[in-house]
Symmetry: C2
Subunit: 206 residues, 2 copies
DNA sequence: CGTTTCATTGAGTGCGATCAAGCCGTGTGG
DNA sequence: CCACACGGCTTGATCGCACTCAATGAAACG
């Protein structure tokens, strides 16, 4: 990879805004980021959460169609697109990595389209928690973002989301030491509640 | 591009099924295709509609996570992944085209996530009709797929969808010569109903 | 210790789903 | 050529999940 420019943003700090020129690709070093769009009437939608190691900021056009903000203080590296282009010319490994990255992102987006189009609110939360837990050891899901962020990510309201959390807790499926940490007590039940027949990550943790 | 294998599929014919090995990328020559997934309990979700000229069938893993079927009799070309890999090595133009294609598809998927997560049923239909019309001259939307297909694409039921069509017709915003052809009579009203503040394609047709 | 922000809980509403007929174009066989 | 059946679209009546509005609880912060 080309050398990038290291930067940082404080809590809720803007990394790039909707409509900004798309001049860089980014890699998150530490912290976490939300990528989002806001409709004219104020409805907000969060397209993705970004965690350390993830790339973000690809755009098909000249400008960003989504904005990016730090959820918590974040360090990241900006790679100018021109530098990436130069690097791509000479390095087959980079080319391959970038293509794999894009195809993988595309599949992830397709999974989200499916979830928002055809899963119930409860299924979306179960699916989300399993996804978050997969970043760790599969038992604990750390969520640095607020309830509003999660709601805007899952296409729900905060109130509905809060009720769903309470419901999972009361059924003994999860434990909530606080709003930002979830312990999965009954993985099988959560998988069953997620709408998927099989556990996509079962092999990793069984 | 490498030479592909020309194939055809009849109405509702399978091009590849969920779970099949992902051995090819495809380009549609004629007809139209739906790319979809079915949940364990029978709920179906259509991830995208494919029209002549479009590429489809990319997968991050070894198997297809979605299936593809012909909506109407279709001709398409299958490009073996290995052949694409070979071609990529030698041809910078192909590399660039493929990357642009993937980034553009990613943005399209992100738009759909937004639509399904935060738009109302009426807004989703207006958005869909504008998108379909954009393939043509902007005034007519030809939809070769059934109402059920559209409903499964927009995350709605057929009944709701039908009521929305009727409503747009009664308000004089569209005309429906038949279920598969829509004439847009009042583009501005449709844009206003789509939840977007500005018309993304206004420049093309004004 | 007061203030602010965020999560949770409660009460009531409404949008879109579900269940159930009707309608209409299309194809098929007598 | 017409009777009929079939599949897909539309319309109607009702239900229920998630949203809205409102209040309370619980942390974080100055």
């Amino acid at each position: 990879m080309p050398r990038g420019i290291r930067q940082r943003a404080g809590r809720d700090g803007t990394i790039y805004a909707e409509g900004d020129a798309a001049a860089n690709w980014y890699r998150l070093i530490s912290g976490s980021v939300r990528v989002f769009r806001v409709l004219a009437d104020g409805r907000r939608h969060i397209g993705e959460f970004v965690f350390p190691g993830d790339m973000f900021g690809f755009e098909p056009g000249q400008t960003h169609i989504q904005g990016a903000e730090a959820i918590e203080p974040a360090e990241f590296v900006a790679y100018p697109i021109a530098a990436i282009e130069r690097c791509i010319v000479g390095d087959a490994a980079v080319r391959h990595a970038i293509r794999a990255l894009l195809v993988e992102r595309l599949a992830a987006a397709q999974n989200r389209v499916m979830a928002l189009g055809r899963l119930t609110a409860a299924e979306r939360l179960a699916d989300f928690l399993l996804g978050m837990a997969r970043r760790g050891d599969g038992r604990f899901a750390d969520m640095p973002m607020s309830r509003v962020d999660v709601a805007d990510y899952l296409g729900l309201t905060v109130e509905t989301l809060s009720r769903l959390f309470t419901n999972l807790r009361q059924r003994g499926i999860i434990r909530l030491p606080n709003a930002y940490h979830v312990e999965i007590l009954d993985r099988a039940a959560l998988v069953a509640a997620s709408g998927h027949s099989a556990d996509p990550a079962a092999a990793d943790f069984d």
